[in-house]
């Protein structure tokens, strides 16, 4: 180990501010984006539930407006 004590580790030979500022920014940004991207899928799902409710309501009102979608690659994913 290159540090004799925790105090030395924090101080980084006088350059502690620069080193820890960098590591802090990096870890904060990357962790935030990690959780943000997970949250995005979840909030998209919530929005979709509302979307489907509205679509179903509309299609019950007038059956002609039903959409057909998806494509040939849908079958490749299995059921």
């Amino acid at each position: 180990m290159y540090f004799q004590s925790f105090q030395e580790f924090v101080e980084m030979g006088g350059h502690g501010f620069y080193v820890w500022l960098c590591y802090g920014i990096v870890l904060f940004s990357m962790l935030s984006y990690f959780f943000y991207s997970i949250q995005l899928a979840k909030s998209n799902q919530k929005e979709l539930v509302k979307f489907y409710t509205r679509m179903d309501a509309r299609s019950q009102a007038s059956p002609k407006t039903q959409n057909q979608s998806g494509d040939i690659t849908d079958d490749l994913g299995g059921k």
């Binding site: 540090f3 998209n44 489907y52 690659t73 994913g77």
Partner: protein, 245 residues
């Protein structure tokens, strides 16, 4: 035999497969980061000139490397989507952009903070730094351009063209330290020579590059999943997935 290859074009397959892969990639990210940080912060030597600020290397270099790698991936997948009209390729391309922008931003910021004690300045308009800043603008431009269109297909195609045009910036960034007088140091790791770096430093650096790579794949898959749900919302499998949970 080639079915697996064509499955890559299927949003449904990719969504399912990502669900299977993600736990492994998340675990690998955590492990690689912990090992890399321990090696870099505790078990690698100081630089005889810079002292401990050299430890910024272990986050600056991976961020910079990934910023370029992600751009190339974004451009190639955009190009594939553009030429062969494969929507999954556009999904990947669009999902790469925010992560790539973050890596570029981190490379610039950590570089600036590192530069202050080392070179005496946060910034200088030399070739390497300027071209990396331009890369950030390209990423932001890509995202802004994509957002500017109401029709998603047109948005995808326009952004793909921008990504491809900006691809020339990548070799400029890479070779800038060779072609011009630059404050930034030259390449340490080369295909043709033994690296000039201490082996303990090299170990930590390679571990951190691997950690950043695996983190990128993890976050990309998470982002791609979100994008697939939104884009494929009119298809049966998404409706079943969302309403049955």
């Amino acid at each position: 035999m080639w079915t697996w290859f064509f499955q890559l074009a299927s949003p449904k397959w990719v969504y399912r497969f990502s669900d299977k892969l993600l736990p492994w990639f998340r675990a690998a990210t955590l492990i690689l980061f912990v090992v890399g940080l321990v090696l870099g912060l505790l078990f690698s030597p100081v630089d005889y000139q810079q002292g401990n600020t050299v430890r910024i290397l272990y986050i600056h270099v991976p961020a910079a490397f990934l910023s370029m790698f992600v751009y190339v991936l974004m451009a190639i997948s955009g190009g594939i989507g553009f030429i062969w009209r494969i929507k999954m390729a556009h999904i990947v391309s669009v999902s790469c952009a925010p992560i790539g922008a973050i890596f570029t931003f981190l490379a610039l910021v950590t570089g600036a903070v590192w530069g202050k004690p080392t070179w005496g300045t946060y910034w200088v308009w030399d070739a390497r730094l300027t071209s990396e800043l331009i890369l950030l603008f390209l990423y932001l431009g890509f995202m802004a351009l994509h957002n500017a269109f109401d029709d998603r297909k047109t948005a995808d195609r326009a952004s793909a063209v921008l990504a491809l045009v900006g691809l020339v910036n990548i070799p400029i960034i890479h070779f800038s330290v060779e072609w011009w007088n630059s404050l930034h140091q030259g390449a340490t790791i080369s295909k043709f020579e033994k690296p000039s770096m201490d082996v303990d430093m090299l170990k930590a650096l390679l571990m951190m590059i691997a950690a950043f790579q695996v983190y990128f794949i993890t976050v990309l898959l998470q982002r791609v999943k979100a994008e697939i749900l939104e884009r494929e919302k009119l298809s049966g499998w998404v409706k079943k997935l969302v309403t049955n949970e």
